[in-house]
């Protein structure tokens, strides 16, 4: 049974005596606590054998301490300090009252370690009352909601305004843009042919560079993947479960009440000690529907509902920044509501961190789709993601270029995340931006072979909304990091800058330029006009032809081989239709550009749960939930 403290054993026996838990549950909890290296309380609560307040009451009773409900008897406001708000939320200790000049602290765990910590922080004249984790969290949120909100919104822009998208374009950038456009206008007025040729040359060289760079990346990305995956697997097998760190999981949601049961089921089945999971379901204050749905699920204490106070900009990064204040893990990951990470993903991440260089601050897992074959759009989206996550990102990692992080399943070392002031709430592709900032600060991002399956967008309008946000975010990120070109070059190096230009800038630029190229080609193809001939001097014509045939062909080919690793060869022929997908990307690019100018911080919400497969899964999850409740596997009774 391992070694457990007298207190743990005493509280457990008390709970058994009062029939709050069974003897079998107690014994199993002791065993799991040994295996996981976790306190018995966390084990009992993670298995949902006992409610947090019941345990805390028993704990208090066993130690002859007072138990308080902080929502009924809240802490005195004047005892609290905004500078310590993070400490309250993460260390689960909060000043409560002053009794006869003595500071009484409310905590979940008045252990010797906590006592030592409290003495160091508040001095020797302190006393304790016991409360529950959720009470401390709620009390902290109630007291410091505004403070946390300010930090979430302005933390980065106040600490490091140069890397914040709060100001999308600086004065200097505006002048540079104006000069470039003026030079182009002057060129078109006074030397139109030369200007057109120059623009054409720029487009041609840009395309050529982009496709050669991607070819190199895919090649490098494909090298040694199996060996690297095998090495991680071997490390996972050697992990000592009791040494695994606490892992925080943030799940920002907005108006997605239906997917909650699927999400909670997926997270419960992760192959990781449940007691070491610190899951935050991050909800917006005005999203009453989802908040109600989450509360009605009466989730076990490993889940915590964080309600983000209403403020602008209403973006996912702001919500995550807010929730970060409450995260207690050593590592932190973000999952979207409909995500289905592979069960052993967290273990692989821990193993990857252990194997990586000390400056590894993030491990990006692969994303792909569970409804890949639902319709044409989901197939194309799957090809796109397969190429990006299975080949390009490993390629970027191999050549040491910055990795624009994907929207979810990026696992951070939480101390580095805090050091960098977390996500930019004004940037609508905050993860890509964070990837660049990590690289600029000398941190490394690893990519591992573990997949999170998501719901592929199966609706064209919804897809364009999502993609327009991504492209707008890429434009923002490009503008933010090109404010200091020399700094960018020094911090990323030439390969890093090339990668930044082709991936961050290139995605937006190609989306905007493609329709121009296609229009030129279509007019020429249909009318056989010779009017364009002067624009294509021989060398340029060579390159243009090469790009047209080899470049586009290569992009089609890369899309084709994208799903090879997953053995989804059935998707390969669909790559031939990728020009239609590119056309949709161009629509999204122009929409993104429009929004960048007129509504830069508007978060174009992607609707999730619209896939037929998701609908079926929601129904299955509901049925399972109903069945479990009917069988009595409900919330543990209050003792």
């Amino acid at each position: 049974m391992g070694t457990h403290s007298e207190a743990d054993l005493g509280v457990g026996q008390l709970l058994v005596r009062h029939k709050a838990i069974t003897q079998e549950q107690f014994e199993e909890a002791l065993e799991l606590a040994t295996d996981w290296g976790s306190p018995i309380a966390d084990v009992l609560m993670s298995r949902w054998w006992i409610q947090a307040d019941v345990y805390s009451r028993a704990f208090a009773a066993h130690h002859g301490m007072r138990y308080v409900h902080l929502d009924r008897e809240p802490p005195e406001r004047e005892l609290l300090s905004s500078a310590d708000a993070g400490v309250y939320a993460r260390s689960l200790i909060i000043p409560w009252r002053k009794v006869d000049g003595r500071l009484i602290l409310a905590t979940t765990d008045p252990s010797p370690a906590m006592l030592l910590f409290a003495r160091r922080k508040w001095g020797p004249d302190i006393g304790f009352v016991v409360t529950s984790k959720s009470d401390i969290s709620k009390a902290t949120q109630a007291a410091f909601g505004a403070h946390f909100t300010h930090l979430a919104v302005f933390g980065l822009s106040e600490a490091d305004p140069a890397v914040s998208a709060r100001r999308v374009i600086t004065r200097r950038q505006g002048v540079a843009l104006y000069l470039i456009l003026s030079a182009m206008a002057a060129g078109l007025a006074f030397a139109p042919l030369a200007t057109f040729i120059a623009l054409n040359a720029f487009m041609t060289l840009f395309y050529l560079g982009a496709f050669l760079f991607k070819l190199v990346l895919v090649w490098f990305g494909g090298l040694g993947q199996a060996e690297s995956a095998a090495a991680i697997d071997a490390s996972v097998r050697q992990l000592d479960e009791s040494q695994l760190p606490v892992f925080s999981i943030l799940v920002p949601m907005f108006r997605e009440p239906d997917v909650l049961p699927i999400l909670t089921r997926a997270l419960r089945t992760m192959d990781y000690p449940l007691a070491k999971l610190d899951i935050k379901i991050v909800l917006e204050e005005d999203d009453v529907e989802t908040i109600d749905a989450a509360r009605s699920l009466q989730l076990e204490p490993i889940f915590e509902i964080i309600v983000v106070p209403a403020s602008q900009p209403k973006t996912k990064p702001k919500a995550c920044n807010y929730a970060l204040n409450f995260a207690r893990g050593e590592y932190l990951v973000i999952y979207d509501a409909e995500d289905k990470p592979e069960r052993d993903q967290l273990r692989k991440v821990v193993a990857a961190f252990q194997r990586s260089a000390p400056n590894t601050a993030c491990v990006q897992c692969r994303l792909n789709y569970f409804n890949a074959r639902e319709n044409w759009l989901t197939r194309m989206f799957t090809l796109d993601y397969s190429l990006w996550f299975d080949l390009m990102l490993p390629g970027l990692q191999k050549i040491g270029a910055p990795i624009p992080l994907g929207g979810t399943s990026n696992h951070f070392r939480i101390d580095v995340l805090r050091e960098l002031n977390a996500w930019d709430p004004f940037n609508v592709t905050e993860d890509a931006d964070l990837g660049i900032r990590l690289a600029q600060k000398g941190y490394r991002v690893g990519v591992i072979d573990s997949t999170t399956f998501e719901e592929a967008n199966c609706d064209a309008g919804n897809w364009i909304r999502q993609r327009s946000r991504w492209i707008k975010g890429y434009m923002m990120t490009f503008l933010v990091h090109t404010r200091r070109p020399l700094h960018l070059l020094r911090s990323l190096g030439p390969v890093g800058v090339a990668s930044f230009v082709f991936f961050i800038g290139g995605t937006a630029i190609s989306g905007l330029l493609n329709p121009i190229s296609w229009a030129l080609f279509a007019v020429w193809f249909i009318t056989s006009t010779t009017a364009f001939a002067p624009l294509f001097p021989p060398v340029l014509l060579y390159f243009s032809l090469f790009n047209l045939i080899a470049g586009n062909g290569l992009f089609v080919y890369l899309m084709m081989i994208g799903p090879f690793r997953r053995r989804w060869t059935g998707l390969a022929p669909w790559a031939l239709t990728v020009p239609a997908y590119w056309a949709m990307m161009s629509i999204a690019a122009y929409k993104g550009l429009y929004q960048l100018v007129f509504t830069p911080f508007y978060w174009e919400k992607t609707n999730h749960g619209i896939s037929g497969q998701t609908a079926r899964e929601i129904e299955t999850a509901r049925s399972a939930d109903r069945a479990e409740r009917e069988q009595g596997a409900d919330v543990p009774a209050r003792a």
């Binding site: 090649w219 494909g222 080899a550 084709m560 060869t569 059935g570 390969a572």
Partner: protein
Amino acid sequence: MTRRLSIASFGIALFAIVMAMFAWLDAHGFVGANALDLWGEAIAARDGALNLRSIVLTFPPAPHLATMGLQLALGAARMPTPNVLSAMLVASLGGLWLSSFLRAGYGVAASCAMTLLLVLNPAVPRLASASPALVMLLLGCWLAARAAYRLRARDNIVDLMALSGGLAVVALSHPLGVVVVLALSPYLIFVVQPHLARDSLAGAYLTILFPAALALLGALYVAWVFQGDLRGLFALLASPPVMIDDGSSWLVNAWRRHEILAIAGISIATLLVAPVLVGAFLANGRRLPRVLPTAALIACLPAAGVLAGVLGLVNDPLTIAAPVLGFGAAAVAIWPQGPRRAMWTTGLVLAGAIGAGGLMIAAPSRETRDWLAALEGADVVTASSADLAVGAFLSTRADVTIDAISAPRVLAGRGSALGLHLPTQFDFEKTRLSRQAQANFLVVRATGEAAGSDDAVNAVFPDLYEKGRPDYIRVYDRFGWRVYQRATIAASR
């Protein structure tokens, strides 16, 4: 690093050996006809005498564009650029083979011996002398075969890309390459891992063949862009510009009569060049990841032979040796581990060298006979000598109207296209339209000969060869070429 340096040194030594062989052959009057054609075109391109249309319409593009690029780099060097390219390719192949054998677990001595035996297999220097296109074909076939083995064994995306890329190189190197890709296609199912085929065989096929198909479709598209129709490209494919020579081997003549036995026989006979391929098939027993790709490579050869025979793509059985040798070199690396492994493979590679020599002696084309003679130290007069001679005659003359586009070897003999009026240029077009001779020199080929019928100068002045022109006097008349010089110029000399 030491190993890489050693391999690089090995490659450099091979380059020197092959270049020495070319110098020896050149000194005895032999340069491959197709090499000369390529060189002439590269000279024309370097001197701006080849218009864009002519350049982009070349097929197969890989050897043409590579030769032109190298010619630009070499400038006015008087060394046949295609030979330099061939030597570079042979040296690269040697380095790659050596590296692959070492990685496959052979000892240094065995690896070096096998590499030397493969590179000095008589077929390799012969193919290298004929045209860099054939060495590219050999390289592409080796790359594709090596990737096929790896793909079947370990299911890695890099191998898939290497196979696709290798097949594209094969298709773009030589018309025979297109045929090899077509012939191999039905057997690719043996190369693809079952789980890939299970999801979608069509998808797996498409992924493997897409680059090669794209290359060919791209060539069709370019032909359409520049010619307005597709006939030009089909004509190129039907009458390949890169052939070994016109004097076919007796075996090929039988082949051309579409005698099935001869076709099958010739394809099987080419296995003599690389018996190690058959050996690897037998030695691997039931190791399916090795046996199945080997079977695919062997099985495609008769099919490629039949297709090549029907289309009349090759004039010498040794041409087929290019893919066979490439496949054979890849098969060496998959020979099963065992105590006598190196002995077997080295023996079979040696047997291949002997087989190639035998095939060369038993069924030589005219050029192969010339090559052998030159190699033995005899001075030879080849089919190209006439063009080279007139080129040499023109090397000190300028303002010359000549159709060196249909006879690029003349440019190889002259060393430059400057001072010539070629059918791709405006001056020639003026002459064609006015039918007035303007240049100081008019050069024409005998109308009675096949080559003469292609001569654009003959088309403008049909009587020129026989009757000359008023005000011009004949100053050269050898081997079916005549050069006329404006009389006033001749008199002033």
